[in-house]
Symmetry: C2
Subunit: 150 residues, 2 copies
DNA sequence: GGCCAACGTTGGCCCGGCCAACGGTAGCAA
DNA sequence: TTGCTACCGTTGGCCGGGCCAACGTTGGCC
């Protein structure tokens, strides 16, 4: 009494937005679970990625880069700093800013997380061929560009 | 000082899971905003859709159909019932159950919401051709089936 | 008669996205 | 110089959505 009986409304399963959000939820769960295994949250990965790719930056800029709110950046960085993955220093040139630098430990941890992410993606898109994945990426990128630029 | 300077890390923008979650966020925001305009939340739409398509059902079954937790179903139904869109009745045949029935007002409201959703989808996938949209739907559906069945 | 399962309900947790407000600081212009 | 404006970090709070644990009630079944 808990199987064929409980079909989803097709009004939902037909809608692209529903499909996308469902897929997103799967991805999100896969990711969060495995990041948690590594003792990290989504914000941590994003911040470390930004630091890794662009080097030291102020908190505000990190927020802009990663799409994380200033206030949330504070908490996440507290966390990362407390675990020695990141260092806060006052900017001598502009005393409003904190300059955030990733430490070697942070870099190492980031690479671990990045490996996890790679596995998750592969898991997520398992049923798609390589060509299809690229198609998908292309379409989603176009959708995003459209909405970001307008 | 807030534009070219604040690029996203490619480590993120490259990942399908990131693209998907970003797209999902856009869709979600479009949807939530417009649903809020109509004074409804996501749960409301889902529940009304299930009732509309399958007719009266117990709360537990509604939860299974829509993927909403039993406990959250309670709250959402309280809301809908309070607005006269849904009626709770004790099931004479099984006194554990409440039988939920959609009212004419509920049906009308659902159709309003459904119209909103249609617009949102179109908005979301604007940059994609019809063929592409179907391709996208097909791929996402396959991905979801894969993860649901395993 | 007893045991287990399902039901509705309450209350709580977490994550992620957001906003308002504050004191401190920088920059620019009158 | 004095202001005004904008930015910065930080605190505290809100909401939506997905979950889980527990309880008392009720049914089904051995």
């Amino acid at each position: 009494m808990a199987t064929a009986d409980d079909a989803m409304p097709s009004r939902l399963t037909e809608k692209p937005s529903w499909l996308i959000s469902q897929t997103s939820m799967h991805a999100h769960r896969l990711l969060v679970d495995r990041l948690a295994t590594a003792g990290s949250h989504g914000y941590h990965y994003r911040l470390l990625a930004a630091l890794q790719e662009f080097g030291p930056a102020s908190q505000a800029r990190l927020g802009r880069r990663t799409g994380i709110d200033r206030s949330d950046v504070v908490a996440a960085l507290n966390d990362l700093a407390g675990r020695g993955m990141v260092e806060r220093a006052h900017d001598p040139a502009d005393r409003r800013r904190n300059i955030i630098t990733i430490t070697p430990a942070g870099t190492a941890h980031f690479q671990r997380l990045d490996g996890i992410l790679a596995v998750v993606q592969d898991d997520l898109l398992a049923p798609l061929s390589l060509a299809e994945r690229q198609l998908l990426i292309g379409m989603l990128t176009r959708v995003l560009e459209h909405h970001n630029s307008k």
